[in-house]
């Protein structure tokens, strides 16, 4: 099987000055991570060049990058929890004396680095016992120990409390004074404007603009990040009937999510905003927390996807291969998996299963030869259709679609949009989780925007614009 290569970055050219804190912002999928991977040696650029101190370089790997003074602090920290701080700092380049580990020397050295980053814990502390902020300091101490002159930080404040973030900013300022260049990736536009010297905006893998932080403001950044017009790509919206909601989630704070039959409600937000988690709470695979679920106005307890199904709620996972489908099983088995009871209490009527799969194949125009072949042999778009068919089989009243167009090609995307709208017109209540703003704007009657696990607000009609969603998603303003 071959997938077409996607050009993640195109024509991006950025200069980072010594001792500069350079913010990099963009929507999900704008190419920030790819850029960082290329800069830190994880990935090679297919074309283009990297110039360090005036000389072109070619990084062969992370170790090579580190040797040249480029260190990356990942979002998921790469530390070994069971080892001490000193052991982590010297992991892979342990100091030895006469063939044995020189523990005392490593602890002394580590203490020196910890002092530089103002860490309050001892070199002998177990990393697993430190807070997230503490672990981040260990990562930075590691970079300092490696004498890094360029430090790349990917969403460092995403996991920190406000005071912890403040002390991180102070540390960045001190590193800057020593001449360290910091590349700072963040979704938090306010802090980017505050702590950076320059800011680069990426969109769809291309460079949009690099601007002075002094002249930038969060609203302007949000506009630059989105800045594209809605293509004529989505089916014309059909207004939803005014009916009472079939499914409601009411959070204690008063924020709520509701959807009525025939309505398409978008669930927008940045990656990690808690949209999938909310959907999973609605189907009972994680605790609902401080809130309640109402189906047709009645409060219900949902403890498993089975109970959710009994209430008419179906969830098509974003993780198609991991959770949505059983990839080693046949197309037929996948179609009937959630509704097997419909094919026999004990003994399965396999003929009926095949007829059903055939009917869905025709209805959804699934391109598949042998229905008994493993579903792994289908393309992403066709797999997605089967994943949806599997839930339509259960005749749900509410269909939650989590990133339904991820990993499918453009043609299949269009088909997916038409299908979703068709379902809504037939009276299905649809919740569409998407990180692609045009999809939310183009498809949904209303959109709920989430940020850090909280529902930030609801947008509809003329106020449902990409910039408005982005402002709520990035926390620039509250609705």
């Amino acid at each position: 099987m071959q997938f077409p290569a996607v050009r993640a970055l195109d024509g991006v050219s950025i200069a980072f000055g010594e001792g500069e804190v350079h913010g990099i912002v963009g929507e999900n999928g704008a190419g920030k991570s790819t850029l960082m991977k290329i800069l830190s040696g994880v990935q090679h650029a297919t074309s283009g060049s990297l110039i360090l101190d005036g000389a072109p370089i070619r990084l062969t790997g992370v170790r090579d990058a580190l040797g040249r003074g480029i260190a990356m602090i990942h979002q998921e920290l790469n530390l070994v929890d069971d080892l001490t701080v000193a052991e982590n700092v010297f992991l892979g380049r342990e100091l030895t004396k006469g063939g044995l580990l020189d523990r005392d020397q490593m602890i002394r050295e580590t203490q020196k680095y910890l002092d530089q980053v103002h860490a309050a814990f001892a070199p002998t502390a177990k990393v697993g016992e430190l807070s997230i902020a503490g672990k981040q300091l260990v990562e930075i101490a590691k970079a300092v120990a490696a004498n890094a002159s360029i430090l790349i930080m990917d969403e460092p404040t995403a996991v920190l409390s406000d005071p912890e973030a403040e002390s991180l900013f102070a540390l960045i300022a001190r590193l800057k004074e020593k001449g360290v260049t910091v590349l700072y990736i963040s979704h938090r536009l306010i802090e980017v404007c505050e702590i950076c010297d320059r800011i680069t905006v990426l969109r769809d893998g291309t460079w949009v603009e690099s601007l002075d932080a002094k002249s930038a403001n969060p609203a302007e950044l949000a506009r630059l990040m989105v800045g594209r017009s809605l293509q004529d790509f989505y089916p014309n919206k059909v207004s939803a009937p005014e009916t009472p909601p079939i499914l409601e989630f009411i959070h204690v704070g008063g924020a709520s999510l509701s959807v009525s039959p025939g309505e398409i409600v978008g669930l927008a937000g940045l990656v990690g905003a808690g949209r999938t988690e909310l959907a999973e709470a609605l189907i009972g695979v994680r605790p609902i927390g401080a809130g309640e679920i109402r189906v047709s106005g009645k409060t219900v307890q949902i403890r498993s996807p089975k109970e959710a199904m009994e209430h008419g709620i179906a969830y098509v996972s974003e993780d198609r291969k991991g959770l949505g489908l059983l990839v080693t099983l046949s197309v037929v088995s996948n179609v009937t998996m959630a509704n097997l009871r419909g094919y026999g209490k004990w003994i399965l009527d396999h003929k009926k299963e095949i007829e059903s799969a055939l009917a869905w194949k025709k209805e959804l125009d699934v391109r598949v030869g042998d229905l008994e072949s493993s579903i792994d042999s289908l393309s992403g778009g066709n797999q997605q259709k089967i994943a949806i068919a599997k839930w339509l089989e259960t005749k749900p009243k509410v269909l939650i679609l989590d990133e339904p167009t991820r990993g499918v090609d453009v043609g299949a995307k269009r088909e997916m949009y038409n299908l979703i709208q068709h379902l809504a017109q037939e009276g299905m209540a649809c919740i569409l989780i998407s990180s692609e703003l045009p999809e939310i704007i183009g498809m949904c009657h209303r959109a709920i925007v989430m940020r850090e696990g909280m529902i930030m607000g609801e947008l509809k009609g003329a106020s449902l614009t990409e910039e408005a969603v982005m402002r709520l998603a990035a926390g620039v303003e509250a609705a």
């Binding site: 089975k306 059983l326 990839v327 088995s333 097997l340 009871r341 399965l348």
Partner: protein, 332 residues
């Protein structure tokens, strides 16, 4: 189908056929004697019945190391019960029947306990059943006071060597040749299990849970019940195997019965082409695996090879089977 796929798909069956032909050529009539062929099926019927249950457990993504010890425990229960019932004045047939049901029930309960700890307690199957491996043997030894428990009911041995007369065949003395009950039970269990695996809702759920447990949960399947059930079924089948063994020996040596059965059963399942990672398997393969292992030990006796070599030969067969399985994964 490519030739390499044919080999990986039917490798165990092919090996069985090849060994069979070698035996026919070198041993001729003595191998083809109807009694000998019958023994091939019935000799390891106990392990066979357990291996069938083990196939379910492994397909559902589990493993059970406790089956050998559980065989001893159920066997001890069966013999003690039959003696007790018969000494109380009950007729031998009814006593044997009730004692058998008792042993099967004990096995099923033990299996359910394993399954409950694994699925509701979320403890690894390997660890839980390792505990069973030690624990059930210990209970068996306590029941047998560290030694052998003999049956005092004549009917039990009659059951062990009874069966259905094979038509048109007479033994050397002119009497009928019996197709033992143990072989019949083995065959029925295999047919039933094959049907359950391939044709029922429960069978499909088993495959789904083993293929990807979380995805199965997301497909509105009650995975905990499925896991509980496969361990319960295996436990019940271990009880059946214990009755067959006890009847054949007319006694149960609590320290020796069922020793290494877990390894033999798992080996048969793996040789038969069921993936140890779960989600994929077949009953007929397990039956072939059991027959292959039986034929190998049969040959070692027939060719007067030092029986101490048996373990090594089995080890090699298991390794080859796993290597072929890995080849299949890469082909896909």
């Amino acid at each position: 189908m490519k030739r390499s796929n044919l080999l990986t798909e039917y490798g165990a069956l092919l090996a069985l056929v090849v060994l069979f032909v070698i035996n026919v050529v070198t041993r001729g009539a003595s191998f083809l004697q109807i009694e000998n062929l019958r023994n091939l099926i019935s000799q390891n019927a106990g392990v066979g019945v357990i291996a069938i249950g083990m196939t379910f457990v492994i397909i559902a993504g589990g493993i059970d190391l406790s089956v050998g010890s559980l065989t001893a425990m159920c066997g001890a229960v069966a013999i003690l019960l039959v003696n007790k019932l018969a000494s109380g004045g009950m007729g031998p047939t009814l006593a044997i029947l009730l004692a058998s049901l008792g042993a099967i029930a004990v096995g099923a309960v033990a299996g359910l306990v394993n399954g409950a700890i694994i699925s509701y307690g979320r403890v690894a199957a390997f660890v839980v059943t390792l505990g069973g491996l030690a624990g059930f043997r210990s209970i068996a030894l306590v029941l047998g006071k560290g030694g052998e428990i003999r049956s005092q009911v004549q009917g039990l041995e009659d059951f062990g060597f009874g069966g259905v007369a094979i038509p048109f065949v007479k033994n050397a003395g002119g009497g009928p040749v019996m197709f033992y009950w143990s072989a019949i039970v083995f065959i029925i269990a295999a047919l039933l299990a094959s049907f359950i695996l391939n044709r029922t809702r429960f069978g499909r759920y088993m495959i789904a849970v083993g293929a990807n447990e979380r995805a199965a949960v997301y497909s509105a399947i009650n995975t905990q019940t499925v896991k509980l059930a496969v361990f319960g079924i295996l436990g019940g089948l271990v009880g059946v195997a214990a009755v067959l063994e006890g009847a054949r020996m007319n006694s149960v040596g609590t320290g020796s019965v069922g020793l290494y059965y877990e390894l033999d059963a798992i080996a048969a399942v793996v040789i038969g082409g069921t993936s140890l990672r779960g989600g994929k398997g077949r009953i007929w393969g397990t039956v072939v695996g059991v027959l292959l292992l039986t034929l190998i030990s049969n040959m070692i006796t027939a060719y007067n090879i030092d029986t101490n070599w048996q373990g090594l030969v089995r080890g090699i067969v298991i390794l080859v089977a796993v290597l072929i399985q890995r080849g299949r994964k890469e082909n896909e």
